[in-house]
């Protein structure tokens, strides 16, 4: 498989940010009250992710390693502001319903995580496709979770009534507690797949609880980095000891699990 296709496949299935890595849970829970909101949030995040990955990859040999986190944050925040203004101008309905969660894309773990672990060590084209792949994976996951919540909570899909009128909507699913219950079910399914995979002796270490198991693990994905890293080696980011692309090495166990999750 050539590189761009491999990155897309990796983002959508093998390392799906929501179902496999469990990153970026704040927006996932907050905006998935309907499928449309989930789709809008996912696409906005994808645009920011792809563009910031591209720019960070282009600048990776110029950004000094010690101030890389502030540099990444400025790049991401600029693209978020651009996206926010575009949404406000052209899709005001979506802008209203997503509200404060649009500027909060800046602190989404997925974006800083990809900048830190992929874009800062790889050339521009693969980084762009990595961003698009991850973004599509996130969009797909958010739309699916939104769809489940919308169907259960109001009997509708994308705003159209699909269940018969005799169905009484369980409205708690479009309220805050429902988000926790849906995510709980999702992580339970994830655990089940992981336990069964491990029984068969497969490597399931890719399936993780992201920020949720322990905040210390956030360090690897970019959540808990210090603003100014005193211990980092001086010199440009890209020349720091680049990790090999771990994605290529992992066993393709996850794609099986995806079918069940759907």
């Amino acid at each position: 498989m050539n590189k761009p296709v491999e990155r897309l496949y990796n983002g959508i299935l093998k390392e799906n940010p929501t179902f496999v890595l469990t990153l970026g849970m704040c927006p996932t829970l907050a905006v998935t009250t309907s499928a449309i909101n989930g789709l809008g949030m996912g696409l906005s995040t994808m645009v920011v992710l792809a563009l910031s990955n591209l720019l960070i990859a282009a600048l990776r040999n110029f950004i000094p390693n010690r101030v890389r986190i502030p540099a990444f944050i400025v790049i991401v925040a600029s693209f978020v502001t651009v996206t926010q203004l575009l949404l406000q101008g052209f899709v005001p309905v979506l802008y209203e319903s997503l509200g404060i969660y649009i500027p909060l894309i800046v602190v989404n773990c997925i974006i800083l995580g990809r900048a830190e672990s992929y874009a800062s060590k790889n050339p521009m084209i693969p980084s762009l496709f990595d961003g698009i792949g991850m973004g599509l994976g996130f969009t797909m996951a958010l739309t699916m979770i939104g769809l489940v919540r919308e169907i259960l909570g109001s009997g509708q899909a994308f705003g159209f009534r699909i269940l018969p009128d005799s169905y009484v909507p369980i409205s708690i699913f479009i309220m805050a507690p429902g988000a926790f219950f849906v995510l709980a079910t999702l992580t339970a399914i994830q655990n089940k797949i992981k336990i069964e995979g491990e029984k068969k002796g497969k490597d399931m270490s890719k399936i993780q609880s992201g920020c949720m198991s322990d905040c210390a693990s956030c360090g690897d994905t970019g959540c808990a980095h210090r603003f100014y890293d005193e211990n980092a080696k001086p010199g440009p980011v890209g020349k720091a000891d680049a990790k090999a692309d771990t994605a290529a090495k992992t066993v393709e166990t996850v794609s099986e699990g995806k079918e069940e999750t759907k």
Binding site: M25, C26, P27, L29, A30, I69, P70, I73, V74, A77, S78, V80, T81, Q84, L85, I100, P103, L104, V106, V107, C109, L112, I172, M175, A176, P177, G178, A179, F180, F181, L183, A184, T185, T187, A188, I189, N191, K192, I195, S209, C211, M212, S213, D214, C215, C218, C223, A224, H225, R226, F227, Y228
Partner: protein, 192 residues
């Protein structure tokens, strides 16, 4: 005065930052295994959010608005918050060692806590004065602390319960958080 009380109760209980707005979910789920660490995290969050809502409020009112560049708020706020957290950490390490020893480990975790940025942006959106913004920040952080300590207390009690294997760990904690969210929905009956 009445408005301040409305902000205090509204931001801490009625629209609780974690249980109804889903901000700051990472530390809420990650650092709630023991009540002691949860309390430490809560106090650190109160400290940082109160300071940051003051600083971002001042910068917005006296720098961004007069210059007509309020559209840069997201970029400016996130940089201020990240720098502020690091600065507070350095300051405590140097001058208030006892406080640093108890809060120090939590501070880096707060840098990209979305609750901090969320409060700063809400203050701007609702057009709060600096005083009200600080009150809102303080109340939001208190709401965070209440819910994280409650969750930690529940988790301590449930640690050795016999539950099905796939439900152990996160799913179990999330279900508990969902039940807490239902309980907090009860506060929405309070209105001013």
């Amino acid at each position: 005065m009445g408005e301040y009380i409305a902000i205090l109760i509204g931001s801490s209980l009625i629209s609780n930052v974690v249980l109804s707005q889903f901000l700051g979910l990472c530390p809420f789920l990650g650092v709630s295994k023991k009540t002691e660490t949860a309390t430490g995290m809560g106090v650190a969050v109160i400290f940082v959010i109160t300071i940051s809502s003051f600083v971002t409020g001042v910068i917005y009112k006296f720098l961004l608005l007069p210059l007509g560049i309020s559209y840069l708020q997201t970029i400016v706020f996130i940089l201020i918050i990240a720098a502020l957290v690091q600065f507070v950490e350095m300051f405590l390490k140097k001058y208030v060692v006892s406080l640093y020893n108890s809060l120090g480990v939590y501070l880096p975790l707060i840098t990209t806590n979305c609750a901090v940025l969320g409060v700063a942006l809400t203050n701007v959106q609702k057009d709060y004065s600096i005083g009200k913004g600080v009150a809102n920040g303080f109340a939001t952080a208190v709401g965070f602390t209440i819910s994280i300590i409650l969750l930690a207390g529940l988790r301590e009690k449930m640690e050795y319960n016999n539950i099905p294997k796939p439900l152990q760990g996160m799913p179990h904690v999330l279900l508990t958080a969902g039940l807490m969210a239902i309980a907090f929905c009860g506060f929405s009956g309070i209105s001013f």
